[in-house]
C-alpha cells in the first residue's frame, strides 16, 4: 500500500492505495464518486474520462498512486461549472444521450473541445470525439450539442471564470505528473509472481479434432537442413530431442505411444506465457510426413491454444539436404486472444521456426559426429525465445544468413 494525497473536486483526500488500483476504481469504490463510468477498462471507450490537473485523461489506465499531489475533477465536480451547464442543456435538447452510460466521459471530452478549440467545425468535433464510444445515439445529437455550445460561446463569449482545477496546466509531461514526490519505500519490493513452476494442467483430452472449426490462425513456414531426409526423419522420431530444439519448450513426462506432454514459454516483449499441455503425433513414414495435434493452457492468463502442426520432409540438393515444410493452424482463446494481432503472431511464429531450425541443425550435426559449426547449446533445455531481444542477436545474425534466401528478412 502507498499513501497518496490529492485533491478530488476541490476537497483534499489522503488515502492508502494498492499500486494496482486505477484512478476510476479509487474514485468509485473509495470516494463513492460513481459518476465516472467504467466501460472497456483498457483505454478505448472513453467512459472513464475525467480531468487531471484540468486536462482530460483516462482514469482506467491511470493508476491512483501516480496521481499523488494532482487535482482530480470528476463529472460531479463540474455541477456548477458554467460551460458544463450549457453542455448539459444542449445534450438534453439535442438528444445527446439515451442510456447515459457514455455521458460523463462524453461531457468531459465535449467540455475540452469547446474550451480548447473555440472554432471547431463538425468534422473537427467528430475527430475529437472519436475516443468516446456511444452505442445509442449514433453521435448525431452529440455532435450537434457540442456545436450548439461552440456557437453560443462564439456569440456570447465564453462563460465566467472556470472553477479551480478545471483549466489545463502549462507544464510539460503527463498530466498529473507535475507534483511527483519520491515515494517513501515501505518495506522491500516483493516478487509478485510465483516462479514458473507450471503445474501439469488439467488439459482436456486432445483426440482428433474431427469436425473442428477452421483454426483462427494459419501459418506456413519452411526451412532446410543439410542432412538427408532419412536421417532427419529418424531424428524426428526422437521426440525428446525434437522438443529440445523448440525455444523455451520441454517435456514434462517421457513420451509414450506417440503421446507427449510438455510446456513452452513464449516471450514477446513484456508479455510472457507458459503454455502447458499435451499432444498426439501421427506419422506416415512412407511419405515422410506427420501431424501433431494438441493443445495447452497458460495458467497465468488462463488463455488456451489448440491446434495442429503438419510437417513434411522433401529431398533437396540431390538427397544431401532436406527441406522441412511446416503448416501450423491454431486457435487461441482467453485474454491473450483479445490481444492477438495476426501480423505479430506471424512474426513470432517465423522467429520460433527459425530458432527451431537452427537448434535442429546443431543437434543433428552433433548426432552425426561431425564437428558442429555452431557452439552447442549449453543446457538440454533451450533458452526461451525472447523475440527480437539482443541476447538472440548473435544467433539471429547466423539464422538470417543461413535462411536468408528462404525468409528474405
Amino acid at each position: 500500500m502507498k499513501t497518496i494525497s490529492l485533491t478530488v473536486n476541490g476537497k483534499a483526500v489522503t488515502a492508502a492505495v494498492e499500486p494496482r488500483t486505477h484512478l476510476a476504481d479509487f474514485l468509485r469504490e473509495g470516494q463513492l464518486l460513481t459518476g465516472t463510468h467504467l466501460g472497456c477498462e483498457h483505454g478505448v471507450c472513453g467512459a472513464c474520462t475525467l480531468l487531471i490537473d484540468g486536462s482530460p485523461a483516462r482514469s482506467c489506465i491511470t493508476y491512483a498512486v501516480a496521481c499523488d499531489g494532482a487535482e482530480i475533477t470528476t463529472i460531479e465536480g463540474l455541477d456548477e461549472d458554467a460551460t458544463m451547464r450549457r453542455l448539459r442543456d444542449a445534450f438534453s435538447r439535442e438528444h445527446g444521450l439515451q442510456c447515459g452510460y457514455c455521458t460523463p466521459g462524453m461531457l468531459i471530452t465535449a467540455r475540452d473541445i469547446v474550451t480548447r478549440l473555440p472554432d471547431a467545425d463538425d468534422r473537427r468535433v467528430r475527430f475529437e470525439l472519436s475516443g468516446n464510444l456511444c452505442r445509442c445515439t449514433g453521435y448525431v445529437g452529440i455532435v450537434r450539442a457540442v456545436r450548439r455550445v461552440i456557437e453560443e460561446r462564439q456569440k456570447n463569449g465564453s462563460a465566467a471564470r472556470p472553477e479551480a482545477g478545471t483549466t489545463p496546466g502549462t507544464s510539460l509531461g503527463p498530466v498529473g505528473s507535475g507534483h511527483a514526490r519520491t515515494m517513501p519505500a515501505n518495506g522491500p519490493i516483493k516478487r509478485q509472481m510465483a516462479t514458473a513452476t507450471t503445474t501439469a494442467p488439467a488439459a482436456e483430452p486432445t483426440r482428433s479434432p474431427s469436425g473442428q472449426a477452421k483454426p483462427g490462425m494459419e501459418i506456413r513456414q519452411s526451412f532446410t537442413v543439410n542432412h538427408p531426409p532419412d536421417r532427419v526423419w529418424a531424428f524426428f522420431d526422437q521426440i525428446d530431442q525434437v522438443a529440445a530444439c523448440m525455444p523455451g519448450a520441454s517435456l514434462t513426462t517421457p513420451p509414450r505411444d506417440d503421446h507427449v506432454a510438455g510446456k513452452i514459454r513464449i516471450k514477446l516483449g513484456p508479455i510472457s506465457a507458459d503454455f502447458a499441455g499435451d499432444a498426439d503425433i501421427e506419422r506416415d513414414a512412407a511419405n515422410k510426413r506427420g501431424v501433431i495435434r494438441g493443445g495447452g493452457l497458460d495458467t497465468r492468463s488462463r488463455s488456451s491454444a489448440r491446434g495442429e502442426i503438419r510437417y513434411a520432409l522433401f529431398e533437396e540438393k540431390g538427397g544431401t539436404a532436406t527441406r522441412v515444410e511446416v503448416d501450423v493452424g491454431f486457435t487461441l482463446t482467453g485474454p491473450l486472444a483479445q490481444f492477438s494481432r495476426s501480423g505479430i503472431v506471424n512474426d513470432l511464429a517465423s522467429r520460433l521456426t527459425a530458432a527451431f531450425a537452427q537448434n535442429l541443425r546443431v543437434r543433428m550435426d552433433r548426432a552425426a559426429g561431425g564437428s558442429p559449426a555452431e557452439p552447442e547449446p549449453s543446457t538440454e533445455q533451450t533458452a526461451e525465445l525472447n523475440a527480437g531481444a539482443l541476447v538472440l542477436s548473435v544467433l539471429w545474425a547466423r539464422i538470417k544468413s543461413l535462411f536468408g534466401a528462404l525468409f528474405r528478412r
Binding site: 485523461a57 482506467c60 471530452t109 511527483a180 519490493i189 491473450l336 501480423g343
Partner: protein, 283 residues
Amino acid sequence: MKPAQFDYERPSSVAEALDLLRREDLFVKVLAGGQSLGPMLNLRLVQPDLLVDITGIPELKRAEPDSDGITLGACITNADIEDGRAPDVTGGVLPAIARGIAYRAVRNRGTIGGSLSHADPSADWVSGLAALGAEAIIRGGPQGDSGRRTLPIEDYMVGVFEAALEPGEILEAVRIPRLSARARWGYYKICRKTGEFAHAIGAVLYDPERSVCRAVIGATESTPLVVADAAFLFGDRPSDNLAATYDTAAAARLLDRKGMTDPFERQVHLAALRRAVDRASLQ
C-alpha cells in the same frame, strides 16, 4: 480487467531509476505515461513485480531546441507536441503526427519515449521519427549512471515490443533534426477508425538543403521498412514534385525484400506510401 499486484516506485532522478532497473531479482517495467502498458496490465498480459514511474523525473520532461534540432525528453507527451508546448523545429510535422495519435485524453498522458520503447509496430513515432532521421539517446549501461549512447530510431526498435535497451538502460531523450524551410514532408496512416492502431503507415521526407531523402513503410508485422536514401524511389531525381517521378514498382520491390507477400498487405502499404508521396508533393 484489474491488474495483478505490482509494486510502484516514483524516483526523482535518472540515477535512482537506473538503480531500480538494475534489480535482477525482479521483473521491472518502466512506466512513462502508461497509455500502452496500462491496457496490457489491466488485461494481465504483463505482470511485473515493480513499476518504475519515470514521469516525476524533471530531466526527462525537458524540451531543448537549438540551431540543429531539438532534444525531447522521454516523458514529453503527445499533447505537449500537439500544442507546441514543446517547440516545433519541423515546420508542423511533429504536431501533425502527434495530433493523429489515439485520442486527446490519451495524448495528455502518453509520452514519446514510452511509445518508442513499447515498440508497437503500428505506433506513429516508430515510423514517423525514423522518417525524420531522429535518434534515440540512451542512458545507463556499462558506464553507469552517466553512460550515454545514441542510436538511429530505426535501430532502436529491434522487434515487436522490443527496444534496443540492455538491462540497466533507459531511453532518456529523442533528438530530432531541424528541417530546412524547403523540406517537403508527407505522412499517411491507414486505420479503420480515427485513433485506432494503424494498418499501414507511409512517410516521406525530402529536404534538399540538407541532402536528405528518406521514406518509411510502417505498421508492418514487425519493424518498419526504413529507406535512408530514398532517391531511387523517385528515379534518382527527387524534386519538389515527388509524385511526378515516384516509382511504385521500386516501392513494391522493397516489400518483396521484406518478405511481404499477402496481396492485401502489399496493397495497403503501397497505398499509404503513395498517399504520403502525394501529400509531400508540390503541385
